[in-house]
């Protein structure tokens, strides 16, 4: 069983003015000039390589960190690398105001917890805070207090997360049916 409650330090992805950074597309997350890279362990160092103010993210991020992102995160192309580069850095989960439709599929299919939290940027969180996310209830706690209620993960998402990824899920009894 994978953990249902995740604890980690957050990165609140803001723009130069400290505001919510919306519409970060897959080319900003993982630029197309690196698309030839297929080995996931190579991808981490290019994460956010084209997102202004966040180019040094790969050096700052630590295993187990959690991303908190703005609206329409991951808009654009269907490249899986835009998800895998964060997995390569050990990012544990992505919490976002909203996501591009294909990006969302790719995160979920890769077995990474994705939490939809419209309004999370108004909750007072800042980069460096340590939070606890309950994947089943959507509750987000800081200092033991509930500071935000996000959408709980759906059953489907949970099943894929528990199995490891979409392909692993396909091996399970329920996946095969």
């Amino acid at each position: 069983m994978k953990p249902m409650i995740l604890r980690g330090r957050i990165w609140l992805i803001t723009d130069e003015n400290g505001n919510r950074f919306d519409d970060i597309d897959t080319d900003m997350i993982f630029h197309n000039k690196w698309l030839y890279i297929t080995d996931i362990s190579e991808m981490g160092k290019y994460a956010f390589g084209n997102t202004s103010g966040w180019e040094d993210f790969p050096e700052k991020a630590k295993e187990g960190d959690i991303l908190v992102v703005g609206r329409n995160f991951g808009a654009g192309s269907s490249r899986q690398q835009a998800v895998d580069c964060f997995r390569a850095l050990g990012i544990r989960a992505i919490i976002g105001e909203s996501f591009g439709a294909i990006y969302k599929r790719n995160v979920i299919n890769s077995g990474m917890p994705l939490i939809e939290a419209p309004g999370i940027f108004e909750s007072g969180l800042k980069s460096g805070d340590v939070i606890e996310v309950n994947l089943e209830t959507g509750e987000i706690k800081g200092n033991g207090q509930v500071i935000f209620r996000a959408k709980p993960m759906s059953k489907v998402q949970m099943d894929i997360y528990q199995a490891g990824d979409l392909f692993e899920y396909g091996r399970t009894a329920e996946g095969k049916r």
């Binding site: 439709a101 790719n106 299919n109 396909g170 091996r171």
Partner: protein, 417 residues
């Protein structure tokens, strides 16, 4: 209470079907093209040991991008798919068949209410007969091949009413431009849509295909055109079985409602760099052009061929302009030959009538656009670089044919009185 997408999903899943819920969706049909197909095979082989297909009878390869293979890479990729098909018993619509989604319609493989997925971002074209079609990446499609299902978030549905009367030379393509101009590139973002209104009811099946083929360019998941009698009898003839449409309940919940008036519609066009950058043809009339392409999943059907032939008959393409025509499928191609349209095309000086498929729409086939070339095209996208370094203006087949004759952008009345 339910919209069309909600009704189709309810019939193909166990979960609660409400916008925002994620459900497991049973798939009636799953396909991969020569683009994407080889990766689907690779994922299946990498992740599973045999038993690759939940049901080979419901699983197809459809080759349409590079047909027959233009480069060695395409040839190798198609061969990977053919081998895999032989091994697993799934079917291949090979390089002679035409555009995959159109083949599914013609062969009666999908019907109103079907669920289908494939590696083609215009798979939602199946909304033309009221089926649910969705394009996906190669990992998603590999999983669909293996399990016969996919997870999906139930989208909200918007209602689009299109009313009004128009006559030739305005066509279904111009109605489609009118809708795109109104909604813009994100007007349907993440949503399902349903089309209603007298202008929609009057659309032929081919016209419905044109309208449905531009859903993706407005950001839509799927746009349904509720089937009328003509569409139902087409599907019945193709499936050899009685067929019912899936319609929305009277009290279905829509996220919004949009009214579009197409009364007295005139020929429109999609100007670079976005297909939703819609302008009247009359505004740019006289613009010199170098080439014209008629075909693609948007305007490669028989009705489109006929519209072009009507304009070309007895006329000649202007010297220096090259007009290329590619029917969408083998069925359309044969009809074009049998009914003499091909003679009209050749007599008029149309440069090529290429093998059925995507034609110059994608990089896989002959018919690309060179530096500084101005092309009028009946395809669905004019993003920079998609068909080469030239500039692409999207138009209807009738406008394309008339302009090819004149050598500059014009409307068909200038050629056919």
């Amino acid at each position: 209470m339910s919209t069309i997408v909600e009704r189709i999903f309810a019939e193909h899943s166990k979960g609660r079907v409400e916008p925002g819920e994620i459900i497991w969706l049973d798939l009636d049909v799953r396909t991969a093209r020569d683009f994407g197909g080889p990766n689907v095979v690779k994922h299946l082989k990498e992740h599973y040991e045999g038993d690759y297909l939940e049901n080979p009878e419901k699983t197809y390869f459809t080759f349409d991008l590079s047909v027959p293979a233009k480069t060695i890479k395409y040839a190798i990729n198609q061969q990977i798919c053919r081998r895999f098909a032989k091994e697993t018993g799934m079917k291949v619509f090979d390089v002679d068949a035409g555009i995959g989604t159109h083949v599914l319609l013609e062969k009666g493989i999908v019907r109103p209410g079907s669920t289908a997925v494939g590696t083609d971002s215009h798979y939602n074209i199946l909304g033309a007969i009221g089926a649910f079609g969705q394009g996906m990446g190669d990992k998603d499609i590999a999983f669909a091949f293996k399990t016969g299902r996919t997870w999906f978030e139930v989208p909200e549905t918007m209602k689009i009413n299109v009313e009004g009367d128009y006559k030739w030379p305005a066509t279904a393509r111009d109605l489609t431009f009118a809708v795109m101009g109104e909604l813009g590139s994100s007007g349907m973002l993440g949503k399902a849509a349903e089309y209603y209104g007298d202008a929609i009811d009057r659309l032929s099946l081919d016209g419905r295909v044109t309208l449905a083929s531009q859903t993706t360019e407005m950001g839509g998941i799927i746009a349904f055109i509720p089937p009328n009698k003509e569409v139902l009898s087409f599907v019945e003839e193709r499936t050899g079985e009685p067929v019912k449409g899936v319609y929305a309940d009277k009290d279905a919940q829509y996220s919004e409602e949009i009214d579009i008036d197409v009364n007295g519609l005139e020929p429109l066009m999609g100007t670079p760099p976005k297909p939703t950058n819609v302008k009247p043809v009359s505004e740019l009339e006289g613009m010199e052009i170098d080439s014209v392409f008629i075909g693609s999943c948007t305007n490669g059907r028989y009705e489109d061929m006929l519209a072009a032939a009507k304009v070309l008959k007895g006329n000649r393409v202007k010297e220096g302009v090259n007009l290329r025509i590619t029917p969408a499928t083998k069925e359309v191609w044969l009809r074009v030959i049998k009914e003499g349209l091909v003679d009209t095309f050749i007599d008029a000086g149309a440069v090529v009538l290429t093998n059925p498929g995507c034609g110059g729409c994608a990089e896989g086939m002959p018919g690309l656009v060179g530096e500084n070339e101005v092309e009028l095209s009946t395809t669905n996208r004019n993003y920079p670089g998609k068909q080469g370094p030239g500039k692409i203006y999207l138009v209807s087949p009738a406008v394309g044919a008339a302009s090819a004759i004149k050598g500059y952008l014009t409307t068909p009345e200038e050629v056919v009185k």
